[in-house]
């Protein structure tokens, strides 16, 4: 029932979009964007129950919140391919008068975006708020969220994590992009996250792990499992072990490409590794 080849094909195009967008404005965050591409493609083109068009409330559909807003290139590309706006608009990324701000915002009324994010650590609270709102409205749909692992150094997350288990917010699936990297280096050196699985479990969350968060089949499997575990009294966390820069060989295995744009030559080298499947914007 999952169309793996279709999803992989979309992911390849999204990766091309990411490097081209970041190259065009010579700024932005390709590393985390490439690492989360497979997950976001799986979410939007398979896992989520989405309605046609966009309405802010997200009533009668699943909603998604991006907390680590700096990976906006992947978010914008996925939203465009999912039909929220024309993919030609990706060319305006980070440019003056664009709806595609450096970090996502509702301020410019870009369809698909429900909250501004960028200042880290706020998204889980917002996702929980929407999740309890859905419960009040007896809406059986789910709230998904994505967080950076370094982002969990922000204390607000732990306020939110504590709230969600105490109040049995079990219509929420929060995924952590567990790539072990942040701007200044590996998380293990900057400020160790320790054992995230046992930390979430200590807060009484249900934790699922994906060893290869860039493997489409593994991602789909865990999303199926996560959905089957909702409405059972526990919030759900997916620890998604991704590789920053995945898909572009010279960007992988380092934090160097967290927030750096490729030059012309590097762009070509990246595009040579990524098949154009749906047409470049």
């Amino acid at each position: 029932m999952h169309d793996i080849s279709k999803l992989k094909s979309i992911a390849s195009q999204v990766r091309r979009d990411i490097v081209r967008m970041v190259h065009a404005c010579q700024s932005g965050h390709p590393g985390g964007s490439l690492g989360c591409t497979d997950f976001l493609v799986a979410l939007y083109f398979d896992a989520m129950n989405r309605k046609e068009g966009f309405d802010m409330t997200g009533k009668d559909e699943d909603v998604f919140y991006l907390s680590n807003g700096h990976i906006s290139p992947v978010f914008y590309s996925v939203l465009a391919h999912a039909g929220y706006f024309d993919k030609s608009e990706l060319a305006t990324f980070r440019k003056l008068n664009s709806r595609l701000q450096g970090h996502p915002t509702t301020h410019e009324h870009l369809p698909g975006v429900r909250i501004a994010s960028g200042s880290l650590g706020q998204g889980m609270s917002v996702a929980i708020g929407h999740a309890v709102g859905k419960k009040l409205d007896k809406d059986p749909n789910l709230v998904f969220s994505l967080h950076g692992d370094g982002e969990l150094q922000e204390g607000q997350n732990w306020e939110a994590i504590m709230y969600a288990s105490h109040n049995k917010v079990d219509n929420l699936i929060a995924t952590v992009d567990y790539n072990g990297q942040q701007i200044d280096g590996p998380t293990s050196k900057v400020l160790s996250l320790g054992n995230l699985k046992t930390k979430f479990e200590a807060f009484d969350w249900k934790v699922l792990e994906v060893e290869n968060g860039n493997d489409m089949e593994e991602i789909l499997k865990v999303l199926d499992e996560a959905k089957s575990l909702t409405r059972k009294g526990q919030p759900i966390c997916i620890l998604l072990k991704t590789e920053m820069g995945y898909g572009v060989d010279y960007m992988m295995g380092t934090h160097a490409w967290h927030g750096k744009a490729p030059n012309d030559e590097q762009l070509q080298k990246a595009l040579d590794q990524l098949e154009e499947t749906l047409g470049d914007y």
Binding site: T105, S119, I128, Q156
Partner: protein
């Protein structure tokens, strides 16, 4: 707004009161009414249910109340998520924890994101009293008014606070509603209609304009009575909405009186006084004096002692009026 007209013999006293109440109880009463009236209204509180007078709302609409614990950042974020779903969240904690502690959460998740969240803040200013400066925020009006799109309201008594609480539920957009802890006279009309951004003319006069907000409105009225005994006819305006400012009402008054005293329980930097000064400097030059805290933190003490020590009483307003009127005559 209809006033309680004084029926007593002393003709100089224009307003009176029959009881004293805290403004936070006005918030509690407003929330209780909203519990019945508007099913979209939800309440969030960070471990201060009693202080914010949330009990009646919780009693009437328990499923629409969220106790978040001592976690204000999460409370503001959750409010943004609830607003996205279409709810009208009212968050409640002390003014300090409603603003300074969560400025970035309000800035990004509420103001920049344009969420319909009502940030309701009790225990604002010095009159919190004995807890001291850690809790007595005097910078909150400034913080909130600097946020694009934020409406900033500081109410003056129980009835006005209740009316404002109910009114902001019908307004779509982020609002900061500031009120306090001390028991003070209830002098505005019980059945008033609260209009956001519309100044309330407390008393018409010709010699000086006193523009006051929050707890300083009653002090301004008392000052007006002292001044009247001395032959000075003060026009008193209650600016309950600091942003958007009722520029028209202020300019009209100052053009008539030629000078203004602003009065607020806030740092003189960044508060109502600065908003009025900015208006006057761009639209109509006139001498202005500030009644506000002179760029300092507060301290422990009773509310009355603090208001006196930090220069926020009716007598201070009277002195400021005399000073500003002398400056007016110098400039003539």
């Amino acid at each position: 707004m209809r006033l309680k007209q004084n029926q007593q013999i002393n003709q100089m006293k224009k307003y009176t009161y029959t009881e004293k109440k805290d403004t936070r109880s006005g918030f509690g009463a407003g929330m209780a009414e909203l519990a019945d009236k508007n099913p979209d209204v939800v309440g969030l509180c960070a471990d201060l249910i009693g202080s914010l007078k949330f009990e009646k709302f919780i009693e009437k609409a328990p499923e629409r109340f969220f106790q978040v614990g001592i976690a204000e950042a999460n409370m503001i974020g959750m409010a943004a998520g609830l607003a996205t779903e279409g709810k009208i969240p009212f968050t409640g904690t002390f003014a300090n924890f409603s603003t300074g502690r969560v400025y970035d959460q309000i800035r990004q998740s509420v103001a920049y994101s344009g969420k319909n969240v009502k940030i309701c803040a009790s225990h604002a200013g010095l009159t919190l009293g004995e807890d001291g400066a850690t809790h007595q925020i005097l910078e909150d009006i400034g913080l909130m008014k600097m946020l694009p799109g934020m409406t900033v309201i500081n109410t003056c008594d129980y009835n006005q606070t209740k009316a404002a609480t109910i009114a902001i539920a019908d307004y779509k957009g982020p609002v900061y509603l500031r009120f306090g802890r001390p028991v003070i006279p209830v002098f505005t009309d019980e059945n008033q209609k609260f209009e956001i951004g519309k100044a309330w003319m407390v008393n018409e006069g010709k010699d000086v304009t006193i523009v006051a907000t929050g707890h300083l409105v009653w002090e301004a009225i008392k000052a007006g009575e002292i001044l009247e005994e001395q032959g000075i006819d003060a026009e008193i305006i209650n600016i309950h909405t600091i942003k958007p400012l009722d520029s028209e009402a202020i300019l009209k008054s100052v053009k008539k009186t030629g000078c203004v005293v602003t009065a607020e329980e806030h740092n003189r930097l960044g508060g109502l006084g600065d908003s009025v000064a900015q208006l006057l400097i761009t639209e109509y030059l006139a001498p202005q004096e500030y009644i506000a805290v002179n760029d300092s933190f507060g301290e422990s003490g009773t509310p009355d002692q603090l208001m006196e020590k930090y220069g926020l009483t009716a007598n201070d307003i009277v002195e400021a009026v005399k000073k500003v009127m002398s400056r007016k005559s110098e400039s003539l």
